[in-house]
Amino acid sequence: MEKYLYIALFAPLVSSLFSLLFTATPKKLFTGIVASLLIITSLISSSILLTHILETGEPIHVTMMTWMQTGGLYIPFGFLVDQVSVTMMMVVTLVSSVVHVYAIGYMDHDKGFNRFFAWLSAFVFSMMILVMSDNYAGLFIGWEGVGLCSWGLIGFWFHKESATWAANEAFIMNRIADLGMLIGLFLIYWNTGTLQYDGAFAAFHQLPTATLTWIGIFLFIGAMGKSAQFPLHTWLADAMEGPTPVSALIHAATMVTAGVYLVIRSHELYSLIPHVGLFIASLGTFVALFAASMALVNRDMKRVIAYSTLSQLGYMFAAAGLGAYWVALFHLMAHAGFKALLFLGAGNVMHAMKDELDPFKMGGLKKVMKWTWIMMVIGSLALAGVIPFAGFFSKDTILEAAYSGNHMVIYGVLLFTAGLTAFYSFRLVALIFHGEERYKLFGVHPHEAYRFMLVAMSPLLLVAIVVGILQTPFFDMVEEVLNGHEYHIEHTLALIMLVGTQLFVGLAILYAYVKYANSKIKVPDGTSKIENSFAYKLLINQYYIPYAYEEYIVKPYRELSEFFWQKIDVKVVDATVDGIASIIYNTGEKTRDMQSGNLSTMLRWMVVGLIILLSLAVIFGFTVKYSGV
């Protein structure tokens, strides 16, 4: 089995290095094909590992080699495949295989084709390290690695100012969170003496709650950055500057869920500190609502989906924070499927619309892009949580978990958010695929995507449809590791809740259709009443948070830097040094006059010197005399 583990891990690396060889050369189709094949190899190996885990239930644990060893610190490259990580591996390899194949079509005309695959495969490799590592340090390698690849991929079209800006923003925001995670690692090491999961988890039980709380908080800060939780969320929406397959893979399915994975992985820690868990859940709930509200009005197709990702991540954190780790993982899995599907569908639309992102400028695309339409609708249904699609099972369980944990506020907010989710998803679908064919005004001739791209998307479609049925087997698989339990609410109540939720969601969908699928929709020009309302402005400007960051953090930082350099470094520190030097130099210049060569002057100075020496002698004599020696 170790063989498959290594294949699953290193196939993406090989793929990346292979593509790297051709980065500086023009497009070569075979790099895409080879890369995809290698990723699929990784997927197959992961599947073999999954079957192994399902059959035996035995986790596979290997230690490849030592990484760092000094003092009491020992960090190996160790890999662990258990029920949790194999789930993540499946998610990662499946989505990335799909995205790789899809990208062959999507990046068809791009001159950075080879480079794209190098980055994309490198990302998969980092993600595999992240999920497979058996210690926190290894997780951190993957953690930073995915950050790097995300930087490279968001800024893939580096000629665009906005893209590079977004790339840097994402990297730096992630670094802020990484610092938190690093501190968490330090705390774990100095308190438990190891960074291995098993050793650390065992030691956690003996630690005081205060220490555990700090560890929990710092690790969660790390998770907040990667999973774009408030207040570090702004980078995710801006990250949509990257190519759409990247958005699907990194900013929907895998990387952003790494934070959730971290919390699930550290469940032994978080179950010891439920108050931190509650904070996580509350923050998650808040983000779910907060992000959904921003998605309501946004006029950028990809950003809407990004906000919905943010919102769904909030759901996952809500679940994980409440101790329902397996539910969080399940929602992660389901979400990866349908969200990647939505993104890739959006990618098709973008391709058809020549990179147009405003859904108001589309409309009626159903006729030309039937398959994409179907996929988007199914993806949206799954996202909205309509029975019997994937989202229904996972989201409903989260609601149940909140309800049975007696967290009524969380429950209520999450329920309300579910409605919002349904609304904005179908607002998007309605605007893009139904109503007037507004795109004709802009002279675009949309066409359906390549056939193989659609085929490539089909596994995701499958996931979005059927994954819900797998809930019970999935629970059986992970319950051993995650100490989960199923949530049983009284039958009639459960039924009422189910019907109520479905009705609510259904109404929201209906409302979205009624409002946006009719022929009266025009391209907004900023004059309508709603566009001038306060709420709309607040939401379209993302609560003015990016503006505030720019104004109150970035600008002051830049000015302070300038100040430090121009004023402090040059005018104070360096000037002091030069001042000392010039004092000495000027003393020399001045005393040069003494050496006029005129004997008379020199004699006078001699007398002065004589007096000084004599005075010193006298003073010294007195000190000797009166100091009692």
């Binding site: 006078r604 007398v607 002065v608 004589l610 007096i611 004599l614 005075s615 002698a617 006298v618 004599g621």
Partner: protein
């Protein structure tokens, strides 16, 4: 009483002479005043019982040194008055006084505290010259010999230095000749 009268008299004379020496603008006056001052100083030596030293003072200073100066002055143009353009006189006087006071302080301090012990005490019943001789030729024999050699060297040096081109006088050559000579030197 006699001692006091003599001290004050000679003190007054010495100081006057030396003040003339350092203030006069005529070189010849200065020379004369200096010679007189030297002789008056020897009076102090006699009062203090250092007869030998007094004799030496007269012989060496007034006899030899002053004669040297007098001969030396023949080479210079001593007839013009010496030009004296000095800066602040207070500084000069002040500095001098301060230095002098400090010297006294340093020299005087051990005596005030009375922790001085005679290294080579005078032997009673012996004349001053005998005392001097006794110590000079025992304890200070080497310095004495060195002083002798030094004097010899100084003599030779003085002759050699001053004796170059004794045959020509600069005061008597005119400027044009001097100019030519200077150019020659530069060329060579």
């Amino acid at each position: 009483m006699f001692e006091a009268v003599a001290f004050y008299l000679f003190a007054f004379l010495t100081i006057t002479m030396f003040i003339i020496t350092v203030t006069t603008s005529q070189a010849l006056y200065a020379l004369t005043a200096l010679a007189a001052g030297m002789i008056f100083i020897s009076a102090f030596f006699f009062i203090l019982g250092a007869d030998f030293l007094g004799a030496i003072q007269i012989i060496v200073y007034t006899g030899a040194v002053m004669a040297l100066y007098a001969f030396g002055m023949m080479f210079f143009d001593t007839t013009r008055s010496v030009k004296e353009k000095q800066g602040n006189k207070f500084i000069i006087t002040g500095l001098s006084t301060l230095a002098a006071v400090l010297v006294v302080l340093i020299v005087g301090a051990p005596m005030v505290s009375n922790n001085i012990v005679a290294l080579y005490p005078t032997i009673d019943g012996m004349g001053n010259v005998q005392n001097v001789g006794l110590i000079l030729f025992t304890k200070y024999l080497v310095p004495f010999e060195l002083a002798a050699v030094m004097l010899l060297v100084a003599m030779v040096a003085g002759i050699v230095l001053a004796g170059k081109k004794m045959d020509r006088s600069i005061t008597l050559t005119n400027d044009a000749e001097l100019e030519i000579e200077k150019n020659k030197k530069v060329l060579s």
